[in-house]
C-alpha cells in the first residue's frame, strides 16, 4: 500500500486513476493532422486506437473523421510494423489521393521500438518515383503525456519537417505567391474559435497562417457528394512558407513555459519573432493578443473589435451584481484552465480549484501569473488530478459552479450546481464544436452563459420562482 498523506490538503494520494481528466497523446495528433489540407491522419499501431479515437472525436465534432491504421497484430508486435506501415501508406495514397499523410505512433509501436523515420526513409527510397504525398511523423506514446502534448508535438513536428522545404520528393509543396504576415499557433481550440481568428486576421487586412486549421475539416457544411477528405485545412504550401512571416503568435502560457514549442522552433531556426501569449479569453488576455497584432502588423485594431471590447466591459459592470463572490471550479486541459481562470479572476468570480490531468509542471506558475494581481486568495492548483480527486477536494470547497468538459457532469449533478461546458470533449450537449471561447466575442459569450447559469440556478432553487431578476 502506498497511500500517503499529502501535506497541503490532507487527502489521499491515489496511485490509480479514477475518471481521468485527460486523454491520450495520439488523439491530439489526429486532431492536429486533420487541420492540414488534404491530410489523412495515420496511426501506426493496432487498429483499435484509430477506431476508438475516431469514435471519440466524432462524438464531440459530430463530423466524420477518417484515421488510417497499420492494423498491427501479434506477428507484427514481434517482428516489427515496418512492412504494414509501408503497405498502409500506399493504400491511403490509392484510396484517398491524400496530399499528406500524418503518421503518429501509439503505445504499441513505441514500446516495441519501431523506428518510423527510418521506415519512411526506406519508403521514400523505394517508392519515391510515384509522386508521394508529404509524410510527417510524430512520436506520440500515450504513456508519456496527454492529448495536449500530442497536439503540440504534432504542430512542432509539422513545422520541423515542412517549414522552408520546397524540394522534397513530394507533390504537395509548391511555392505560393502570398507571403504570410503572421503565423498563429492556437492550440486545441474549437472550429468556431478558428473561424473567429480567421475573421480577425481578415478584418486586420493581413494574410496569416493558422496551424492547424480544422475549422472546415472538423465542422464542414453538408454537401451533396461525400468528400473522402473534406475541403479546408492549412495548405501544406502555406506551412512551408511560415518562416517568411513577420511574427508567430502562439497561445498557451503552460505551453510557453515548457520551452519546447513549434513557435520557438520557427524563432530559433528561421528567426521569426515569437510572441507567447495566453489563450485570448478575458479582457486582459484579449488586450494582449490585440496589442500584439497591432505591433506585428502596424495596423490599429478595427473599430468592430474596440466596440466589442467596450460592450464586454459594459457587460462586466451590468452582470457583476449577479455573480460576484461566486465560487467556481475549473478543470480540463491546462492552458484552457489558465485562460478561464484569468477570465474568472477579472469578473469577480472566485476560482477555488483549478485541476488538470496534465502534468506539465508549469500549471501553478501559469495560474499564479494570471491571478496574483487580481485575487486575494489564490485558487488551489492541482496537476495530475482525476475527477475522483476533484470530487474529494470539492467537498470542502463547496463551489457554486463548474467550468470544464462534459466529464464533470456527474459531479455537477451530484452537487446540483451548474456546469458551463468549455473545451474538449463536449458530448452531452449539442454544438460543442461551435463553442466560441476566444476574443472579446468569445469572452462575451462565456460571460453571458455564466451569468445566466447563476440566474437559472437561483430561479430553480427559489420556492417562489421569481420571473424578474
Amino acid at each position: 500500500m502506498t497511500k500517503t498523506k499529502s501535506n497541503q490538503t490532507n487527502k489521499t494520494n491515489y496511485v490509480s486513476t479514477t475518471n481521468a481528466c485527460k486523454l491520450c497523446k495520439p488523439l491530439g495528433a489526429c486532431i492536429a493532422f486533420r487541420g492540414i489540407e488534404n491530410c489523412v491522419p495515420y496511426l501506426h499501431g493496432s487498429q483499435g486506437c484509430a477506431t476508438y479515437m475516431r469514435r471519440y472525436i466524432i462524438s464531440h465534432f459530430r463530423e466524420p473523421i477518417d484515421i488510417a491504421s497499420s492494423s498491427l497484430s501479434e506477428k507484427h508486435a514481434v517482428y516489427g510494423g515496418g512492412p504494414n506501415l509501408k503497405k498502409g501508406i500506399l493504400n491511403v495514397m490509392e484510396k484517398y489521393e491524400a496530399k499528406m499523410v500524418g503518421i503518429a505512433t501509439t503505445c504499441l509501436t513505441e514500446t516495441i521500438g519501431d523506428d518510423v523515420p527510418q521506415f519512411l526513409y526506406e519508403f521514400n527510397e523505394e517508392f519515391g518515383d510515384q509522386g508521394l504525398p508529404t509524410l510527417v511523423n510524430v512520436a506520440t506514446p500515450s504513456y508519456s503525456g496527454t492529448h495536449m502534448e500530442g497536439f503540440h508535438a504534432t504542430v512542432k513536428a509539422v513545422i520541423d519537417q515542412l517549414v522552408g522545404k520546397t524540394d522534397m520528393n513530394t507533390i504537395a509543396i509548391a511555392p505560393k505567391t502570398i507571403i504570410p504576415n503572421v503565423n498563429i499557433i492556437p492550440g486545441l481550440v474549437s472550429p468556431e474559435d478558428l473561424r473567429h481568428l480567421r475573421d480577425i486576421l481578415e478584418d486586420f487586412g493581413i494574410a496569416g497562417t493558422i496551424l492547424p486549421d480544422y475549422s472546415d475539416t472538423l465542422d464542414a457544411p453538408a454537401t451533396d457528394e461525400y468528400a473522402k477528405i473534406p475541403e479546408g485545412g492549412t495548405p501544406v504550401a502555406d506551412i512551408a512558407q511560415m518562416h517568411q512571416a513577420k511574427a508567430t503568435l502562439e497561445f498557451g502560457r503552460v505551453l510557453a513555459a515548457t520551452g519546447n514549442t513549434g513557435g520557438e522552433l520557427l524563432r530559433d531556426r528561421h528567426s521569426v519573432p515569437h510572441y507567447a501569449l495566453g489563450l485570448p479569453i478575458g479582457l486582459r488576455e484579449c488586450d494582449r493578443f490585440f496589442a500584439t497584432l497591432e505591433t506585428t502588423t502596424g495596423q490599429p485594431t478595427p473599430r468592430k473589435y474596440t466596440q466589442r471590447r467596450g460592450r464586454l466591459v459594459d457587460a462586466y459592470v451590468d452582470g457583476h451584481k449577479y455573480i460576484f463572490g461566486k465560487k467556481a471550479v475549473v478543470y480540463g486541459e491546462e492552458d484552457l484552465c489558465v485562460a478561464i481562470t484569468a477570465f474568472l479572476a477579472e469578473i469577480g468570480v472566485k476560482p477555488v480549484l483549478c485541476a488538470s490531468g496534465g502534468k506539465s509542471g508549469h500549471f501553478q506558475e501559469a495560474i499564479t501569473a494570471v491571478t496574483q494581481e487580481l485575487l486575494r486568495e489564490p485558487p488551489l492548483v492541482k496537476e495530475g488530478f482525476d475527477f475522483y480527486e476533484i470530487a474529494e477536494e470539492i467537498e470542502q470547497l463547496q463551489p457554486d459552479l463548474l467550468i470544464g468538459t462534459s466529464k464533470g457532469y456527474p459531479l455537477a449533478r451530484k452537487l446540483q450546481i451548474p456546469l458551463l461546458r468549455v473545451g474538449f470533449p463536449i458530448h452531452d450537449r449539442f454544438g460543442g464544436q461551435r463553442t466560441l471561447h476566444l476574443g472579446y466575442q468569445g469572452t462575451q459569450r462565456l460571460y453571458d452563459q455564466l451569468v445566466n447559469a447563476v440566474l437559472e440556478k437561483k430561479q430553480a432553487d427559489s420556492p417562489v420562482g421569481y420571473g424578474y431578476l
Partner: protein, 250 residues
C-alpha cells in the same frame, strides 16, 4: 462404457458441442445456399464478389471451413473494426455495473471505453453501481520500462478499499502484453488477499483480427470463473449472471 458412467461437465459440454456441429439444420442446405445467393446478388457486382467470401454455408462434415470475415484488416484501409481490448472491456465486461473494471495501461484506452453507449446498467435495489466510473493504472514511461505490476496491485487495493466491490476485473492494453506484466499472477495474488474474485483478461489490442477476439477472451473468462461458481444461492429472477460472485482463482 458402463451403465454408471457419468461424464464430467467438460466432457458433457464437448459432447453437446460435437452433437450440434454434426446435427442437420432444420433448413436444408439447398435452402440456405439459395438464401445466401439472394443476399449476395443484392450487392453491386464488385462488392458482391468480396462479400461472397464472408458468408459461408456450414457443412457439418467440413470442420475446417474458412470464412473471409476472419481475415486481417488491410493496413491503411479505414476499418470499422476495433481491437481485442474494445471487445473485451468495452463491449462484454464493462456493462457488469456492479463490478469494478480496472484498465491496466496508459490513459487512453480506459477513457475511450468510459460510459459509452454499450455501457448501460440498471442496478438492483440497494445494489452497487460503478458504471459511471473509469479506473485505470494510467501507466507512464517509468512503468513501461520497469514494469507496472506493483502499480496494478496498488490500484486493485485502492479500488477495493474505496468501493468494496464484490468482484474486480483487470484488462490488459497493448503495452502490458509487450512488456510482459504478469497480470494473471497479480490478480490471483490480490484475489487471495482480498477474498473476492479478481479476474484478469489478457485482451491486448493487437490480438486477433477485430474486437471479436476480445469477446471470446471475455466470455471464456466469465464462463470459466464466474458462471456456476455459486451453486448454493437461489437464482434471482431477471437477467443475472450470478447473484454472489464467489472468490475463484483465475
Amino acid at each position: 462404457m458402463t451403465e454408471n458412467y457419468t461424464p464430467t461437465s467438460e466432457q458433457a459440454a464437448a459432447q453437446a458441442n460435437e452433437t450440434v456441429m454434426r446435427s442437420q439444420s432444420p433448413v436444408s442446405p439447398e435452402q440456405t445456399t439459395s438464401t445466401v445467393e439472394d443476399i449476395i446478388t443484392a450487392y453491386p457486382k464488385k462488392v458482391a464478389k468480396k462479400r461472397a467470401k464472408h458468408i459461408v454455408v456450414r457443412d457439418g462434415n467440413e470442420p475446417t471451413q474458412e470464412i473471409q470475415a476472419n481475415a486481417r484488416t488491410t493496413p491503411g484501409i479505414i476499418t470499422q473494426r476495433g481491437c481485442a481490448f474494445a471487445g473485451c472491456k468495452g463491449v462484454v465486461v464493462a456493462p457488469f455495473g456492479d463490478c469494478i473494471h480496472i484498465v491496466h495501461g496508459p490513459v487512453g484506452c480506459s477513457y475511450y471505453s468510459w460510459l459509452t453507449r454499450r455501457n448501460q446498467f440498471k442496478p438492483r435495489e440497494e445494489g452497487q453501481n460503478f458504471i459511471h466510473y473509469c479506473f485505470t493504472t494510467d501507466m507512464n514511461e517509468h512503468d513501461i520500462v520497469f514494469g507496472g505490476v506493483g502499480k496494478l496491485k496498488t490500484a486493485i487495493q485502492e479500488a477495493y478499499d474505496t468501493f468494496h466491490p464484490k468482484a474486480i476485473t483487470v484488462h490488459a492494453t497493448c503495452p502490458v502484453g509487450l512488456i510482459g506484466d504478469d497480470i494473471q499472477g497479480a490478480a490471483k495474488e490480490m484475489s487471495d488477499k482480498l477474498g473476492i474474485s479478481v479476474m484478469s483478461f489478457n485482451c491486448e489490442g493487437y490480438k486477433g483480427v477485430s474486437q471479436s477476439a476480445g469477446h471470446h477472451i471475455a466470455n471464456n473468462g466469465i464462463f470459466k470463473n464466474w458462471i456456476g461458481a455459486d451453486q448454493e444461492t437461489e437464482e434471482i429472477p431477471g437477467y443475472t449472471v450470478n447473484h454472489e460472485v464467489r472468490r475463484t482463482s483465475c
